[in-house]
């Protein structure tokens, strides 16, 4: 079933993406077609199949020793920030 314009607006809001009025029908069309295409999976019997969590079977999450291996990179990292002051990242006021 094709997605509605409202569904696209809701997905875009969840994904934190601003879409223009011209973009909405484009994504409405292409997302509907993609969902129809991946709908082929519905017809596969997977009742007794466990979802694949990882491409290498048996691999478990590795833990590292609890030791300090890094120094503070604060200043270097903030050089890529659009707006900072006094070592803080600045955003528009959140609480009125």
């Amino acid at each position: 079933m094709p997605l509605t314009r409202e569904q696209i607006e809701s997905i875009a809001a969840l994904a934190r993406l601003e879409l223009s009025a011209a973009e909405l029908p484009v994504y409405q069309d292409s997302l509907s077609r993609i969902l129809e295409f991946v709908g082929a999976l519905e017809r596969v019997d997977t009742a007794s199949v466990a979802p694949m969590a990882h491409p290498l079977a048996g691999l478990t999450q590795r833990l590292r020793p609890d030791t300090v291996t890094e120094r503070d990179h604060h200043a270097e990292y903030q050089q890529n920030a659009p707006l900072t002051a006094a070592g803080l990242y600045l955003v528009p006021k959140v609480i009125e």
């Binding site: 969840l14 993406l17 969902l35 997977t46 990882h54 491409p55 290498l56 999450q61």
Partner: protein, 487 residues
């Protein structure tokens, strides 16, 4: 010295050690080619001439002192999603137009330690999402065999650069075919290693359970050398596998007589261009003449690879790309009204159309009420595809088939319909879903356009794949063909 660009990666390393030419001479020769072809091919996003020449001079001093490594003085290029300290890393996106990484990716650091000299960062589909290099914010890359055609993607810049002999080897990444597909369309050798063999640390993430770094070179021998230097365990990558890296160069000569080759039935489907398929069948005859034993193998669930991929990859992409919020790094919109407006407009402006499409697809398939029907279902079917491969490798050593359904297509030909574009990766995605290594090598031409042959093996069978590719390249000369105008 006018033929320096034909020596390949291993040839460059050997020539430098024998002091037949200097690293500065080599860097100058390749940089000249990079700069002269930029208007035609658009293969690079950044060219780092000054740094390259200074690194090459340092390499020459190391070579004179006898302290060089395996790649000392050898020019290479990095796909522009490997973080390079002090050199911007754009990932083909407006989002990262001004991003300068504060650290090197592990792959970059390893190749640096081996002595390689970086000439620049190559163009790519935005965030590696594309099969034609047309989604790059920095413009499409053009195929050196015919500049009206695409080079494939997403590692299109790396592939075009190696095919046009602008650089003897380049790094690349493969999430659904992004090394092998451009290798096929550009007539070069491309290896996607086993998932977990090459560190993902410092590789801008697209789909973390599928992404794998690898190499683009002109020959299997060169791929073996480059892979040996960049693979291996990395504590900074939580899915990196602790395992010794074999000496892939030393293992190139392993005999392939008796190699059990499975002919992938599902790959010779109705979507396969007849002539493209014919070249692959001719290549199979060569493998037979080298002593390989062919049998037909069926992987019945393999045709479901593309639909599985277009649920799993967008899901992981939507999660990974949530980090681009306009706050800590990356593009930020002008005059945000509030925090939500800052997020939405920064992301809306910073991402291109295909990236937005995949983020939204992923957001939808992971959203409440749809997760089971799409994401979990896809991971179950992925398990069936994986089981097909496991079953096949119980009876054959490698699987062989075409890399792509057709040779290179025209720029603009498939941009209007995402599904048509996604189907370019129909033969390559399976290896990503199962985490398997696979190599694409040139196996002839359709008209003037190269055709790729794909060899897929079990986990950590890179040495076997490279030996098979090397044996084929010893019996044929397709990999030595150079596009007209770049000879």
């Amino acid at each position: 010295m006018s033929e320096l660009h034909h020596i390949g990666l291993s040839g460059a390393a050997a020539g430098l050690r024998a002091r037949r030419f200097s690293s500065v001479e080599l860097a100058e020769a390749f940089l000249g080619r990079v700069e002269r072809s930029q208007d035609t091919l658009n293969a690079f996003i950044s060219v780092t001439r000054t740094q390259a020449l200074s690194d090459a001079a340092a390499a020459d001093r190391a070579l004179a002192a006898g302290t060089g490594g395996a790649l000392t003085g050898v020019p290479i290029a990095h796909k522009d999603l490997f973080c390079t300290q002090g050199v911007r890393t754009t990932c083909g996106s407006r989002m990262l137009e001004n991003f300068v990484s504060p650290y090197d990716a592990t792959v970059v650091a390893k190749l640096k330690r081996a002595g390689a000299v970086m000439l620049g960062k190559t163009n790519m589909d935005e965030f590696a999402m594309g099969s034609s290099n047309e989604t790059s914010y920095y413009g499409p890359v053009r195929n050196p065999w015919d500049p009206r055609l695409v080079p494939g993607g997403s590692s299109g810049g790396s592939a075009a650069a190696v095919a046009a002999r602008l650089v003897p080897g380049a790094t690349a990444t493969d999430t659904g075919g992004s090394i092998r597909q451009p290798a096929a369309l550009c007539g070069i050798t491309g290896l996607k290693p086993t998932y977990g063999h090459v560190s993902r640390y410092g590789m801008v993430a697209f789909a973390s359970s599928l992404d794998q770094g690898g190499v683009l070179t002109t020959s299997a021998a060169d791929a073996a050398l480059m892979l040996r230097e960049m693979a291996g365990f990395d504590p900074n990558d939580s899915t990196s596998v602790e395992r010794e890296v074999p000496d892939y160069v030393a293992l190139l000569g392993e005999p392939i007589a008796g190699l059990k080759v499975g002919l992938l039935k599902e790959f010779f489907d109705k979507g396969l261009d007849a002539e493209n398929g014919q070249r692959v069948r001719e290549a199979l005859k060569v493998f037979e003449s080298l002593g390989a034993r062919l049998t037909e193998v069926s992987l019945p669930n393999l045709p479901l690879s593309v639909p599985v991929y277009y649920v799993v990859a967008p899901a992981e992409c939507s999660s990974n790309l949530a980090r681009f919020d306009g706050v800590r790094y990356g593009h930020r919109c002008e005059q945000p009204r509030d925090l939500m407006d800052l997020y939405r407009r920064s992301r809306g402006e910073g991402f291109g159309a295909e990236v937005k499409r995949r983020i939204m697809t992923g957001t939808y398939v992971l959203s409440a009420g749809y997760y089971d029907a799409y994401y979990l279902k896809a991971q179950r079917v992925r398990q069936l595809i994986n089981a097909d491969f496991t079953r096949a490798f119980a009876s054959v050593d490698v699987l062989i088939g075409p890399t792509t359904p057709t040779p290179a297509f025209a720029i603009g030909a498939k941009t209007s319909d995402p599904i048509t574009m996604y189907l370019n990766d129909i033969y390559t995605i399976g290896a990503n879903l199962a985490g398997l290594p696979a190599v694409s090598i040139p196996c002839g031409f359709v008209g003037k356009l190269p055709v790729g042959l794909q060899i897929v093996g079990p986990h950590f069978s890179e040495a076997r794949l490279l030996a098979a590719a090397h044996a084929y390249q010893g019996a044929t000369d397709w990999h030595t063909r150079v596009p007209e105008g770049f000879a």
